[in-house]
Symmetry: C2
DNA sequence: GTATACCTTTGAGCGCGCTCAAAGGCAAGC
DNA sequence: GCTTGCCTTTGAGCGCGCTCAAAGGTATAC
């Protein structure tokens, strides 16, 4: 039988890149379901917890606000009846991220032009010395 | 002779997308050089001001912090002797933005996979009804 | 000349996403 | 059994990037 490894808060922090403070904070605000505890009250994280945290990390890394992630987590708690609603949220988010990517690329290009301009100025500087 | 149009704070706000509050704030913290005034003390923005603000906007849109922008603005005030230093800052920023772009694309792909997964779940749901 | 709609400055306040402090309990080593 | 270093909860604090409030001056219309 496959035994799931249970992780301490330190271990899950290391694996997910979140701080232990942030892990407790995310639980407090409902981003994570109430995490299982040992007899003495210490948190123990399951592989499912880990997968969910890593998904939250991707939402966060793409700029989703905590409020939106809370909405998503709430729907998830309600079960499979909310799958469509969750997909809609992700699709809206996807569209936003794609737009931001385009803008980012466009702004990056402008900055790259500026860099070229500075290079030319530096070369002129050298030429007249 | 080409006459430069001088713009009121409202006009420059509309053109650059910054609020009038933010324009005054940027000036206070040294992102903008002291802007010219009318006799009665009202700000009047030049085309050069406008170009600089639009450049700041691109730095901001690509995630440069205000502190970094202040450094850049300080170098700019010191004149052409700092061109090389400014280029270095922009190149470092460029590298960071490129990395963030890659991460963003990778995270977006994961989210897109999740969307596909949700679609499949929805179809299964329909099939069993 | 007065209403109203702008402008000025300075300093305070806010929303976000954490981050930390306080006070106390638990686990493992010696 | 005591030390060291972890864990718990609750509530306060912080840094960032604005955003607004207060108090007062100015410009234009009527």
């Amino acid at each position: 039988m496959y035994m799931e490894k249970e992780l301490t808060i330190q271990e899950i922090a290391k694996l997910t890149g979140l701080s232990v403070h942030t892990l407790r904070y995310y639980e407090r605000i409902g981003l994570l379901d109430h995490v299982a505890r040992t007899n003495s009250g210490y948190r123990k994280y399951s592989d499912a917890d880990r997968a969910w945290i890593e998904f939250l990390n991707r939402l966060r890394a793409t700029g989703m606000t905590i409020r939106k992630m809370q909405q998503f987590a709430d729907l998830r708690r309600k079960g499979s009846a909310t799958i469509h609603e969750r997909r809609v949220i992700l699709e809206e988010h996807q569209a936003e991220v794609r737009m931001r990517l385009l803008e980012l690329q466009s702004n990056l290009e402008s900055i790259e032009h500026k860099i070229v301009h500075y290079k030319e100025l530096e070369e002129d500087e050298l030429a007249t010395k």
